[in-house]
Assembly symmetry: C2
Homo-oligomer: 417 residues x 2
């Protein structure tokens, strides 16, 4: 088995994490602000490295939209730096004692927020994730091991090098952030089995990447991302509100996990509502695919197959399912959703509460666009991803999701009887 | 590949979990109390089933101590029932809204505690775990799939059958608790890959079982159990207190994960302290294995090998490492511990704080026995296990560890600009 140096990377990361564990907030913020400045000062150098990646991608015939995501421009570098400054301005989650109670035997037992330790991030082509993931992990006191897309390797190496210099200038090991340099899949697989050194692995990217990490990792994973999000238009919905919300959730940005992919509509209002919806969405060229009753209500609706109900289009396509009751809507959603974001549009109090209670998802909305599922919109000031699993963190993950806790116990000689 | 019916079990569990998701606290408590009574009323029947398991185990030549763990007696059945009644008396964690904030755009965003959904438990021979794990999962609103040791199969089936009848008598599906009947390893492996139906897998048992689940499961796992726990006797330790704490942590119960396995002692006090310790532990027949300085200080100390530092003896053996500083103690502990429970005995304020800050474990103690790491001792009223990982739950896990959260968002037509 080829050695990709992962054990050595892991060992160094664990060592760095021990130092970061006790690094004060002032030092961490200083590093973040200086790293932001250093990235701006090294703009030319970063763009040179990036130009190599872009040239290679063009030579390999990469799709234009992907090349665009890969590109670094002065504006984007400015954006990356602003991101780091913003992270510096956030409150440090580490060290907070969440609760402390005195037990009858006199023991004081408290629960304290601590860094996780070593975080691994596996992601695709955007080089901005490199600085962003470092910033969030670092602020929460964690060392981070990054494995970015091979297409962005030169760009990522340049970014990590600049940050490493700032870390060292501040007396911290450059290994607080390390990049796995190999593009080989076997290197990724070895990273996913580095239980001794990596405490959690967060994949950021498409459904294929996430599935591969969940399948192959023995390191605990936080599953992020895929969103087959529904909006249910209830019998009592305010049509104008429903149209606004669906248009926003479907078209404001299509390639994102919190975009709406499927409309569920009560059969009593389908005939009136669907023609209005088709009219509203037609300037945005949204393709509608529905069941037979939806097609009967609005002739521009194409025929949906079973596969459509489970598809995250990430495109200007909306599936439409007609239901005869709220119960049927909830059961359809719970069957086909990915546990991301779901919305009911209703004026009925009891139905709103029932939907909130019974729909199984990270974020359940009454009368608002699913597009709000986002760390910034939720007021966390940052986001490392959106968890669609139920352990540790669910929904948008800010700095707190990058921490763990430990119990601290103050005694004066207690022994167990 | 043989079909062990796991997909069907998973499907039923998911369906039951949808129903349990909205089951009220009064109904859940009623079921728990009735199940407790039903187990007592079926005492003869349970003991008959158990006798088959015991006879088979004896015929197979199982160790006496393991057969003892397997046995059901009237007292043990009473204990199991009392456990269920106690769970009924605990506060229901489900439904609590942990926080709710209004965003500038008027959205009310709250975080609500909800059941996890379907919990899988893989455990070894004790039939009491069957009722206990059901009780905790059920109270937290989860369906549970149990895979107990093959040695206890008849006992477990009898217990699950009694509980299933109580569930059905109360209008709930018996599939709120299901037992995987096959003892085949392949059945366990299939259970570990049932991501579609199982939200979390909790192994309860020895290090081998836990390692196998961590290695093979694609379902998220909460790692529990193994404890290579240290007590560090600092330069300034009160010797009498240190002796009490070490004796308690080492000998009060030896086969448990929160027992002390290793003593770390400051070289300045080793010569005085170790003879006192040897004298104190000699009536309990504790074997001492130490480094050369420890052996030099107390002649009954045998020679320890590198392997000893990493060993969870679960036996009347204590390893002894001599260090020249608090830093060396912390670094030794962080290198060899399993992240369970660690203690410093000291009268020095700064050293106590440093130890609490820098030792990486679920529970870090000053001047108290590590034996307190336990859900009951921590005041949770119950325990499903002790997590030694950093995600989701760390340390003793009570009912809250068996819940997740979801964001509930109240809007009035908000769309994202």
């Amino acid at each position: 088995m080829q050695d990709y140096g992962l054990t050595e990377i892991g060992r160094k990361a664990r060592k760095a994490s021990r130092i970061l564990n006790t690094a004060g907030c002032l030092l961490k913020n200083k590093v973040l602000v200086q790293a932001a400045l250093a990235l701006e000062e090294n703009q030319e150098h970063l763009m040179e490295a990036n130009a190599k990646d872009v040239a290679a991608a063009e030579a390999a015939g990469m799709k234009h939209s992907l090349i665009d995501r890969l590109k670094l421009t002065p504006e984007r570098i400015k954006g990356i730096s602003e991101g780091l400054r913003q992270i510096a301005s956030l409150e440090d989650p580490v060290g907070e004692v969440l609760s402390m109670k005195k037990r009858p035997n006199g023991l004081m037992i408290g629960q304290k927020r601590v860094p996780i330790g070593v975080v691994g991030i596996i992601y695709e082509s955007r080089p901005n994730v490199t600085a962003d993931a470092f910033g969030l992990c670092f602020k929460a006191g964690n060392a981070v091991i990054l494995k970015g897309g091979s297409d962005a390797l030169a760009s990522n190496q340049a970014i990590v090098k600049v940050i490493g210099q700032v870390l060292e200038a501040n007396g911290l090991p450059a290994s607080c952030v390390q990049l796995v340099a190999s593009a080989d899949r076997e290197a990724a697989r070895q990273m996913m089995r580095l239980n001794q050194y990596i405490d959690v692995l967060i994949p950021r990217g498409g459904a294929g990447l996430i599935r591969s990490v969940v399948e192959n990792s023995t390191v605990p994973v936080i599953e992020t991302g895929t969103g087959n999000c529904h909006i249910y238009v209830d019998e009592s919905a305010d049509f104008a509100m429903a149209l606004d919300i669906i248009e926003n959730a479907k078209t404001q940005r299509t390639g994102v996990c919190n975009a709406c992919e499927s409309l569920v509509v009560h059969s009593v209002v389908a005939e009136k509502f669907l023609p209005l919806l088709a009219k509203r969405l037609s300037p945005k060229q949204v393709e509608l695919r529905g069941d037979s009753r939806a097609a009967g209500a609005e002739r521009s609706v194409l025929s949906a197959s079973e596969e459509d109900w489970g598809t995250e289009y990430l495109d200007l396509i909306l599936s439409i399912k007609t239901v005869d009751s709220l119960e049927e809507a909830i059961s359809h959603i719970n069957r086909y959703n990915t546990g991301h974001s779901e919305c009911i549009v209703t004026e009925n109090y009891a139905n709103a509460q029932k939907f909130l209670d019974e729909v199984d998802a990270a974020a359940v909305y009454v009368n608002a666009s699913t597009r709000f599922t986002d760390g910034f919109e939720f007021g966390f000031g940052a986001e490392i991803g959106i968890s669609t699993q139920k352990l540790h963190a669910r929904g948008p993950m800010g700095l707190e999701a990058l921490t763990s806790t430990k119990y601290i116990i103050y005694g004066n000689g207690q022994v167990r009887p």
